[in-house]
Structure formats: structure tokens, C-alpha cells
């Protein structure tokens, strides 16, 4: 039985575990039909030309996680940004771990989707926001919606800001030979609210994990949302991350994606600007080796006038790794004075590494500023000679240049400890010491 069949036939069993009378269940039932009709995307589809899910579909994944496995904090501490105090929403094999988490209802709600689905006090927010920006046609999003049950629920009312950043951590213990996870997150920042979120998926063993995640983010007027995705997973972990963002007037949403590890990563990052004077920022640093594969598919849909978007993705590819960047920008006819910027720069460190970079601009307004650029190259020999002539050895000079290359993406990270952590991961990835704190 292939994975699609297994999933579809498991839906009945899944229904035993959820409230069938809840309005959300109707949404689930619709979604499984769509997934059944469409199935997993294949390479025949333009959007999946360079990323194949074929091998994943042959794995016999467990679809329902077993009961919570206990983990000691000290054993997983390193996967947290533990240098600072944060709220934590932690899942172990897809099951919420109250022991490792720290949630709150103090003025803001930082808790669980399962609570939000079951408790009447959250019903209104669910009705207004749940599955409202996610693409109902997209098959993997539908698959997630069909099985949605657990994930992070973050609700920040008007004018509020949580006392500290929020970490969402998905841990896989390897209790199952192969595990499929489908977390569903909802983030709502009402007008003038502000929130910072760090998300990470981490497999603790060499067992296979396939995560199909959906996150919906709503930013009200003047709201500020910073979302950081740290993708530095084990070599047997694959991730499809579907993130949908809806922004209202004068809101700012910045998503940083740091892709350093994992087997196969597909990021579908979609911004919809539903207001004026909106700022959308999408930044990414990708550093890959071995046979790793990362595919960034971004969409920024400018639907209203006077908005901006900034995309800046840097990639460094070694060994036989492959990268994809596909940046789609749509500017509606009404969206005059749009300022859309897109940049994708790549360095190939090996003859066998590959990057496919493609800007895709659909502009229907006539008074807009849209710029895009893409470079693929090796390190600049002249720059390398310059550094070496100052006594910096080739290896360190190479690292310094790569660091310099990736650095401007980190400038907009607003949590200094996270920035330091990411810098450290980059330094480790490059395997060198340089003479100052990266």
C-alpha cells in the first residue's frame, strides 16, 4: 500500500479520535476529498519539477503517533534557544509534552490547537481564522487539514505583546521506525499586536521522519510578526512546510528561514497582502552538503496599493546537494506603487552541487517598482587572495567570505541570542574557527 492509500484509508480511524460535531470536522472531510482526488504532487507539476516526493511515498510511515514519550529536558536542551527565557510549545512524536512546555493565558494565548478546537472560549477565533488563508486546492495542505488535530495556537489580542518570544519545537524520538507528522499551527496577531516565534523540527535518531506542516499567520493592522524557522534536522528527516500569511494595513511580517540540515525540505511560503502600506520580508540562508535538498517556493501576492516586499535568499551548496529557489510575485492591477524586491544569490562549492533559481513575476499594475536578481557563482578569487594576503589561511578566508555572503540576511534577526546561535551553526557547518565571534 502506498502512502496515499494508507492515509486515505486511515481517515476513518482518525475520525474516532476527534469531535465529529465540531465545525472543523466538516473542513477536514472536505480536505480529505481534495487530497484523495489530487494525491501527492508529482514532478510533472511545474511547481514540483525539481523536488520529488516519490521516495517518501514508498516508506511505510506510522500515521498515528503513540502515547507521549518522556524526554528529559537536559537531553534536548540544546535544541532550544535556552539562552533566553521563552514560552515553549513542545511536541514529542506529535504529542504535546506539558512537561517540556511553558504555555500561558496571561493576556495572550500561547497554547495548543487541540485546546483551541475543543474549548468553547476559542471557538470564535477558530471560526474567523482557521483554514481561511491556507490554500484549499493544494493537496499537501489539504492532507494536513484533513488530519489536523494538534499544533501551536498563538493568539495575541489587540495592542498586546507576549512577555517573551515563543518557541515551537517538534521532537521525534525514533520510537517508530518511520513516523509521519502533520502539525497545524495558527498564529493570530490582532491590530497593533506583536509577537516573535521560533520554530524548529528535530529528529533525535536516524529513523525516518516526514513532517507535513501547515502554519497560518494573520497580522492585523499595525501588527508586527517575526517568525524564524530553524531547519537543521537529522539526515533522515524530511519536511514540507506550508506557511500562509495574511496581512492587514501597515502590518509587518518577517519570516526568516535557516536551512542547514535535513534530507529533503520544501518550503512553501505564501504572503497575501490584504491592506495598504504593508511590509513583507522573506529571508533565507541555506547551507547544504551531502545529498541534501532544499526547495524554497515563495509567493508574495500584492493585492493592495502602496505595499512593499523584500526577499533575500542566500544559498551555499556543497557536495551533491541541490537547491531550488522559485520566487513568485503577483501584483494585482489595483496594487499601484508596489515596491517588490527579490534577490537570490548562490555559491556552488562543488561541481556536483546544483541550484535551480527562477523568478516569476506577474505584474498587472503599471506604476510599480519590481526588481529581481539572481546570481550563481563560485567564491570571488580576487577577494580570497585579498584575505589570504593579510595572513588569513585559505580555509578561514573561504569561511569568512561565505559568512560575509550570508551575513546580511541575519542583520534583520531581532533576537540577538538567536542570531548568535545561527552564526554558530553557520561556523560549525563551515567547520572553521575565525578570529572573532561569528
Amino acid at each position: 500500500m502506498d502512502l496515499k492509500e494508507k492515509l486515505v484509508s486511515s481517515f476513518l480511524a482518525f475520525e474516532d479520535s476527534v469531535d465529529l460535531d465540531h465545525p472543523v470536522h466538516e473542513v477536514r472531510s472536505e480536505a480529505i476529498k481534495n487530497f484523495e482526488a489530487k494525491g501527492f504532487p508529482s514532478k510533472k507539476e511545474e511547481a514540483w519539477k525539481y523536488t520529488s516526493l516519490n521516495s517518501l511515498q514508498k516508506v511505510d510511515f506510522s500515521i498515528f503517533p503513540k502515547e507521549e514519550t518522556t524526554l528529559e529536558y537536559k537531553d534536548v536542551k540544546k535544541y532550544f534557544l535556552h539562552e533566553i527565557d521563552t514560552y515553549k510549545i513542545v511536541f514529542v512524536d506529535g504529542v504535546y509534552s506539558s512537561y517540556l512546555s511553558e504555555t500561558t493565558h496571561d493576556g495572550v494565548d500561547v497554547c495548543l490547537m487541540s485546546s483551541a478546537f475543543s474549548k468553547p472560549m476559542f471557538r470564535q477565533v477558530i471560526e474567523v481564522y482557521f483554514n481561511k488563508v491556507a490554500n484549499k486546492d493544494e493537496s499537501l495542505t489539504s492532507l494536513n487539514t484533513a488530519f489536523c488535530k494538534e499544533g501551536a495556537y498563538i493568539y495575541i489580542p489587540k495592542n498586546k505583546m507576549p512577555k517573551k518570544p515563543i518557541q515551537i519545537l517538534h521532537l521525534a524520538t525514533g520510537n517508530e521506525a518511520a513516523l509521519m507528522l502533520q502539525p497545524r499551527n495558527l498564529v493570530v496577531a490582532e491590530d497593533n499586536a506583536e509577537v516573535q516565534i521560533i520554530e524548529r523540527h528535530q529528529s533525535l535518531t536516524g529513523n525516518e521522519v516526514f513532517t507535513n506542516s501547515v502554519t497560518e499567520i494573520f497580522a492585523g493592522k499595525d501588527a508586527i510578526v517575526d517568525y524564524y524557522k530553524v531547519q537543521n534536522d537529522a539526515a533522515t528527516a524530511s519536511l514540507v512546510d506550508n506557511t500562509y500569511i495574511s496581512q492587514k494595513d501597515s502590518s509587518v511580517v518577517r519570516v526568516h528561514t535557516f536551512s542547514f540540515g535535513g534530507k529533503l525540505i520544501r518550503n512553501n511560503l505564501n504572503f497575501y497582502q490584504n491592506g495598504e502600506r504593508i511590509d513583507s520580508t522573506l529571508k533565507g540562508v541555506t547551507i547544504l552538503g551531502d545529498k541534501q535538498h532544499v526547495d524554497h517556493h515563495t509567493l508574495v501576492h500584492h493585492r493592495q496599493p502602496n505595499c512593499e516586499s523584500h526577499q533575500d535568499y542566500k544559498g551555499i551548496f556543497g557536495d551533491q546537494s541541490t537547491g531550488v529557489f522559485n520566487g513568485k510575485i503577483i501584483v494585482d492591477k489595483i496594487a499601484q506603487k508596489t515596491d517588490a524586491f527579490q534577490q537570490n544569490n548562490n555559491i556552488l562549492l562543488s561541481d556536483r552541487a546544483t541550484i535551480n533559481s527562477k523568478p516569476q513575476l506577474e505584474i498587472f499594475a503599471d506604476d510599480v517598482k519590481c526588481s529581481h536578481g539572481c546570481t550563481i557563482g563560485q567564491l570571488d578569487d580576487e577577494a580570497l587572495f585579498y584575505l589570504r594576503s593579510r595572513g588569513i589561511p585559505k580555509k578561514e578566508a573561504t569561511a569568512l567570505l561565505m559568512y560575509a555572503f550570508a551575513n546580511n540576511v541575519l542583520e534583520s534577526v531581532r533576537i540577538p541570542e538567536l542570531k548568535a546561535r545561527v552564526n554558530k551553526i553557520i561556523a560549525n557547518k563551515l567547520g572553521v574557527r575565525v578570529g572573532f565571534d561569528l
Binding site: 587572495f385 585579498y386 589570504r388 593579510r390 595572513g391 569568512l400 560575509a404
Partner: protein, 250 residues
């Protein structure tokens, strides 16, 4: 200190240096002049170890040691410094961090510990004052958005920080106004001493009014066609290079 014997160098099978002989002793300043395309920058880069050039015949000895097998960084560790004609922009790395890295890597190569932070700061302060460099400048990304003059001044700042045994200044005067030229020359002169040597590569005699050379050489078509004292520079200024080209042709 530096002894170059019959040096040939080429790039993509095109020979640029065609047998250079040059001897520079400690405590001396040598100027190398010559028309565009004569091989001045190539000579500078070959001494510094630029791997783009194929070194054929000939040797470069620094204190008797053949540099041929040494990488650019190893040459730097032995005290060779090249002030670039076109310094490269390195975004994301501040001037200060760059200097710390460079100095500590050189120290590491010599088996020394990292320079203590306070000592480093003191040195940075001292040398930036010498070159009249604004402190804010030091936290900017290396050469990024610097004017031509700022880049050159920054090169000499780096030289002052690294205190090289042999400094090669490749057209450091280009892009400098007269005030900046004076500051840069002053910085270079402070470094002059009995234990080190400087090679100044320039088109014009202007810089040599401030950094007075002991010897002047004229490079033409990959060879040193004439050597003399500082008066030769004046003569070149007056007569141009044509008479030398004719002499070389004979």
C-alpha cells in the same frame, strides 16, 4: 632582504614578466615606475603569491628563503604585505574584526597566543589616529561603500597594524587628494625603519615627494630597463617614458 632573480611570470600563456632582477635591502625604499601594462601590478601580486600567475623561471628570495612554494597567507606570515591597487569589498566583516582575524592568524602561525583584547584596541586606536581615520569607520564593513581615497587609507591602516617586513604599495596614490596623500605618506614614513623595506609602485613622481625613495626603477615590457636614484623619477616626470622605450628597443 628581497632578492628577485630573473623572474618570469605569465597568465594564460601570455608572458608579462620577462626576467626581473631586483634587490631590496632592509631599510631601503624602492620606487618602481613605468607606463601602463608594463607589469608593475603583476610583479607586486607575484611577490604576494597571487596564484593566478604562472611563475616560470627565476626565484624570489625573502631573507634567503625561496617563496615559490609558499601560499599568500604564508608569505604574509613572513612579513610580506601588499597594499592593493583595487581593495576588495567584503560586506558583513568590519574593518576591526578583519584586522583582529588577520593579526591573530599571523600570530598563530608564529606560535603566539591571540593578541589580548585591550592591546588590540590600543593598537587600533593608535594606528587609526596616525592615519586620521574616524572611529566609526572601523565598524563599517570592509571597503564596502568606501570612496577610492578611503580604501587606500584603509590599506595603509592595515599595513600599520600588521607592521610588515616588506611592504609593497601598488598605486596607493591613485584616487587620493593632496591632503589624503600627505596623511598616507606620513603613515608609510612612520613605518620606515632599518629592519624593513618598502616598494612603492606608482605612475607619478608626486607620491615620491612625500615618500622619498632610495632607488627608482623603470619597468617596461616586463623588464627593469633603468635604475637610478630619486633624480630618475624627476627625469621621468619631465621627459615621459618614450625615450626609455626607444632605449629599450635599441
Amino acid at each position: 632582504m628581497l632578492e628577485i632573480k630573473n623572474l618570469h611570470a605569465s597568465v594564460e600563456d601570455k608572458e608579462i614578466l620577462k626576467g626581473i632582477n631586483l634587490k631590496v635591502n632592509a631599510g631601503e625604499v624602492h620606487a618602481i615606475m613605468g607606463p601602463n601594462g608594463s607589469g608593475k601590478s603583476t610583479l607586486a601580486e607575484v611577490i604576494a603569491g597571487q596564484e593566478e600567475f604562472e611563475v616560470g623561471e627565476g626565484t624570489i628570495l625573502l631573507d634567503g628563503e625561496d617563496l615559490e612554494e609558499l601560499s599568500p597567507e604564508e608569505r604574509a606570515h613572513k612579513g610580506v604585505f601588499l597594499s592593493f591597487q583595487y581593495p576588495v569589498e567584503i560586506p558583513g566583516v568590519s574593518v576591526t574584526n578583519f584586522m583582529k582575524t588577520a593579526i591573530n592568524e599571523s600570530r598563530k602561525a608564529q606560535g603566539l597566543e591571540d593578541m589580548p583584547a585591550n592591546e588590540m584596541l590600543k593598537k587600533i586606536r593608535e594606528k587609526s589616529e596616525l592615519l586620521e581615520i574616524d572611529r566609526k569607520f572601523l565598524s563599517r564593513s570592509l571597503n564596502e561603500g568606501f570612496s577610492g581615497g578611503e580604501k587606500k587609507r584603509n590599506e595603509i591602516f592595515q599595513m600599520a597594524m600588521m607592521e610588515p617586513k616588506l611592504a609593497i604599495l601598488d598605486e596607493t596614490d591613485s584616487g587620493l587628494d593632496i591632503d589624503a596623500l600627505r596623511i598616507v605618506a606620513n603613515g608609510v614614513n612612520k613605518l620606515r625603519g632599518k629592519d624593513n623595506a618598502i616598494i612603492v609602485i606608482t605612475h607619478y613622481q608626486r607620491l615620491l615627494e612625500y615618500i622619498v625613495p632610495d632607488f627608482v626603477h623603470v619597468l617596461y615590457d616586463g623588464k627593469i630597463v633603468k635604475s637610478g636614484t630619486k633624480e630618475l623619477a624627476l627625469e621621468l616626470e619631465e621627459k615621459g617614458y618614450d625615450w626609455l622605450k626607444q632605449e629599450a628597443a635599441v
